[in-house]
């Protein structure tokens, strides 16, 4: 498998070291983009193939939705790239091989040796790396797809890890608060799906928008609401982002339109937000997220149709976690290839547990919808919890299945392992982040628990942006005066 790695800080040293290492017919090219490409000898290739197969066996799920995806393609294209444009080259055409990310110990060993043999004092860790996404994209009505070779900087690695970990902790805290009966009503947890949100957000620009359904605590946080704003909203206190008036499913902030309780309703709404972007000419787009359960709603297809006709810059994203509440995708949909359900609309299937794949696909999609029209993206993901807190999540799937995903495909763990192996972050940094996130979320949880609710006068506050009712009716009479605190953003 072709792998490229770059280590900005020590390249000249490494180059020298590599040249000394045997068993490597290295054609090393150092570009001004500091990418190092190493080609493998046949022996090396065989070694790699063996490891690939082992790795593949481990990761070869019998899960239905993955059956297509575990093709082991063993015809590799090894490239000798000695040009100066490696960093810029489009590797798409060469990626007709299994792009599973497996670490050839001999190759990695090269670096270990190089590093150890090399400088002792300098920072041994990289600031940028180039990697392959874990699984190839599947395309519907598209000639070219997203990049499978992606760059990851240290800052990005830290950011994505922190974000995913924060979402995981917020959701865990929410689950605990619910069990303590401090959160009431609905609580739909995102644990396991973090890579979808973080990957998409990583590709979003400031002008972009997103709308989703009710599994949005993670998105609310990513769009700028601090953990207290999320947890406070869940516990119904004033520090919540809707001051406790919305609850779990009705959180809003700039460019984030909720938080919608009616399954599927958010999809045409998202197309409408995209229409506004196009109308205003601000170059923005809207991500309209829905699940495999909502994917069969009629209004979703109505939205596809109009978005296509009017070339709206909307990315329809089906976060397929394989279960719509308690009904598996196979029992609900005649066609579970949700990325093809747009029919005339092109579609991309993405491994939703791989944050870099999601980011790459979203970047591609943003460019596409701004130039050509809407498309559908299916991020295949998994939720560890039940549909909501009232669902244990084990009556329609086995505990073994959940455990398997947790152990083998967890988005946070696999990303962490990737970053550590790439040398982008250290285990110490990871620990520090974990502690910091835990502290932050624990503090927010305590504040959310102990916060105060809005005074009762807020029951009749801001029913209208421009109230015309002389009096509002209370339970027993027309004796309430509407209070106007805010006007709303659309004036």
């Amino acid at each position: 498998m072709l792998r490229t790695l770059s280590r900005v800080s020590e390249l000249p040293i490494i180059v020298k070291q590599l040249q000394k290492v045997r068993n490597c017919n290295a054609a090393v090219a150092v570009t001004n983009k500091t990418i190092v490409t190493v080609t493998n000898t046949k022996q090396h290739q065989q070694q790699q193939q063996q490891q690939q197969q082992q790795h593949t066996k481990q990761t070869n799920r019998s899960s239905r939705s993955y059956s297509d995806n575990n093709n082991n393609r063993s015809n590799y294209n090894s490239n000798v790239n000695s040009s100066n444009n490696i960093g810029r080259q489009q590797h798409k055409n060469h990626l007709r091989f299994d792009s599973r990310r497996s670490y050839s110990s001999s190759f990695f060993g090269l670096f270990q040796n190089a590093a150890q043999a090399g400088v002792a004092k300098t920072n041994n860790y990289a600031t940028e790396a180039t990697v392959q996404v874990n699984r190839p994209f599947k395309l519907h009505r598209l000639e070219e797809g997203p990049e499978t070779t992606v760059k990851l900087t240290k800052d990005e690695a830290l950011k994505y890890y922190t974000q995913m970990q924060t979402i995981r902790r917020i959701e865990t805290a929410a689950g605990n608060l619910y069990k303590e009966k401090i959160i009431r009503g609905f609580c739909h947890l995102y644990s396991g799906q973090e890579a979808c949100a973080v990957g998409m957000k990583a590709a979003m620009r400031d002008v972009d928008n997103i709308i989703s359904a009710y599994r949005v605590h993670g998105w609310t946080y990513l769009m700028g609401v601090p953990p207290l704003g999320v947890l406070g909203e869940l516990t119904g206190v004033q520090s919540g982002c809707a001051r406790g008036k919305g609850g779990s499913m009705h959180m809003y902030c700039p460019n984030f339109f909720g938080g919608n309780g009616i399954v599927g309703a958010q999809v045409p709404l998202g197309a409408g937000v995209a229409l506004a972007c196009k109308y205003k000419g601000n170059g923005g787009m809207c991500l309209a997220l829905y699940g495999d359960g909502a994917a069969n709603q009629g209004q979703v297809f109505e939205a596809y149709n109009m978005a296509y006709l009017w070339k709206l810059p909307v990315i329809f994203v089906c976060e397929n976690n394989n279960y719509g509440m308690g009904t598996s995708a196979e029992r609900a949909s005649c066609n579970t290839d949700y990325y093809t359900r747009g029919d005339a609309l092109p579609g991309i299937w993405v491994d939703g547990m791989d944050v870099l794949a999601v980011r790459s696909a979203t970047e591609f999609a943003i460019k596409y919808v701004n130039e050509q029209g809407p498309l559908v993206m299916e991020t295949n993901t998994y939720r560890y919890s039940g549909h909501s807190m009232s669902d244990p999540g084990t009556s329609y799937r086995t505990r073994e299945e959940i455990q398997e995903v947790r152990q083998k495909r967890d988005p946070i763990t696999s990303f962490k392992e990737l970053c550590i192996e790439l040398g982008l972050i250290t285990t110490d940094e990871v620990k520090a982040i974990d502690l910091k996130v835990r502290k932050e979320v624990d503090e927010a949880t305590a504040q959310a628990k102990n916060g105060t609710e809005l005074p009762v006068s807020h029951l009749w506050t801001d029913v209208y942006s421009n109230n015309l009712e002389p009096k509002l009716r209370g339970t027993n009479g027309y004796d309430i005066d509407h209070i106007q605190e805010r006007k709303g953003v659309n004036h």
Binding site: K245, G246, G272, E302
Partner: protein, 356 residues
């Protein structure tokens, strides 16, 4: 014949409280043109305003309400949609959340039932759910209630359904001044407004003076209008039923009874102050609507009287005239009997007054 009778009554109503040169020099404008000019004015005034719906663009509007607008404003501002109410209503609400000012036309409000989730859950409730963060400045408009011979699935009145929901404003214009002024005010309002027009009124012409044709003419939402002052009994109606009320008032006048006819104009907010003030004068009240009786507009007015000191001004119970509580039939005679007509209203008034 009915139309010319109506115009006479309308003119009489106008002249009854205005004999200024303005009124006499007034020009005639149909309700359709009132709506069309309102749309035109508001599209010109605010770039964010746009109209979407079935046949609104190239067909000039199913009922020609948007005639000429597509030619003038083009594809960006006047958008033809496929026959997918739930989808396009959702798109309109999303556009409103994101800062535009859409006017979403339903070919009739019967089809709005397909999209009612978006009107209520996506539009009406959002400002409150977001604790005042996101307001939804959208207008849903279209013909409401019975037409002629369109039978059960195309004849329902939705005034009571929409007016039931907090977060929405609901208006129901009767004449040209109402239509033009209320639609303009609705478009400028930052909250979701449902404008319940009436297909049978589209072609009816009313005199309008230059205040009405002024580009900033607005009829305030939530205020009723006294169409015809009186002292013996108050008749409250909305939309097409205002015509029936005016015809009945003319009949009652022949018997020496002066009825005060109130045109509600708005269903939510309901202008109870005007009705209370009127009843303090007349002490008798009947309501007239074409919608069904149960939980209807008249029922709401009755309930409000129960809960207000104005109850003690009544010398007799409030009585409602409503559409017969059946789905609308097709056959002409049956259809004729399904809605309150002048004799029904006159009979109700006489009953409440204790006269024959």
């Amino acid at each position: 014949m009915l139309r010319s009778r109506l115009s006479k009554v309308a003119c009489a109503a106008q002249r009854a409280f205005s004999t200024s040169p303005k009124a006499l020099a007034a020009k005639q404008m149909t309700v359709r043109d009132g709506l069309n000019s309102a749309l035109d004015d508001e599209l010109a005034r605010d770039d964010r305003v746009f109209l979407l719906g079935e046949e609104v663009a190239q067909y000039d509007g199913a009922y020609k309400v948007s005639r000429g607008l597509w030619k003038k404003y083009g594809d960006k501002r006047i958008i033809d949609t496929p026959i997918t109410e739930m989808g396009f209503a959702g798109i309109a609400v999303g556009a409103a959340m994101a800062g535009l000012r859409p006017i979403c036309e339903f070919m009739t409000f019967n089809f709005s039932m397909q999209a009612i989730d978006h009107v209520i859950n996506s539009a009406a409730k959002t400002f409150y759910m977001s604790a005042g963060a996101v307001n939804v400045p959208i207008v849903f408009r279209g013909p409401n209630g019975a037409s002629a011979g369109v039978a059960a699935q195309h004849s329902q009145c939705f005034a009571a359904w929409y007016a039931h929901c907090p977060g929405l404003k609901v208006v129901s214009p009767y004449d040209t001044e109402d239509a033009r002024g209320l639609l303009k005010a609705a478009i400028r309002d930052p909250d979701p407004v449902v404008v319940l027009e009436n297909e049978l009124m589209y072609g009816v012409a009313f005199p309008v003076d230059e205040t009405v044709t002024d580009v900033d003419f607005l009829v305030p939402l939530g205020k009723a209008k006294i169409m015809r002052p009186g002292k013996d009994i108050t008749i409250v109606a909305h939309s097409k039923a205002v015509e029936t009320a005016l015809l009945s008032a003319a009949e009652l006048a022949k018997k020496g009874i002066e009825a005060e006819v109130i045109n509600l104009r708005s269903i939510r907010p309901l202008d109870m102050q005007t009705i209370f003030t009127s009843v303090r004068k007349t002490h008798h009240l009947i309501t007239v609507e074409n919608g069904w009786p149960q939980h209807g507009v008249g029922a709401e007015i009755c309930a409000r009287f129960m809960e207000d000191p104005a109850f003690f001004e009544l010398d007799a119970p409030v009585w409602r005239c409503c559409g017969v509580d059946v789905p609308m039939p097709y056959a002409k005679t049956l259809e004729l009997h399904a809605l309150p007509r002048e004799p029904d209203v006159t009979a109700a008034a006489l009953k409440v007054l204790g006269k024959k």
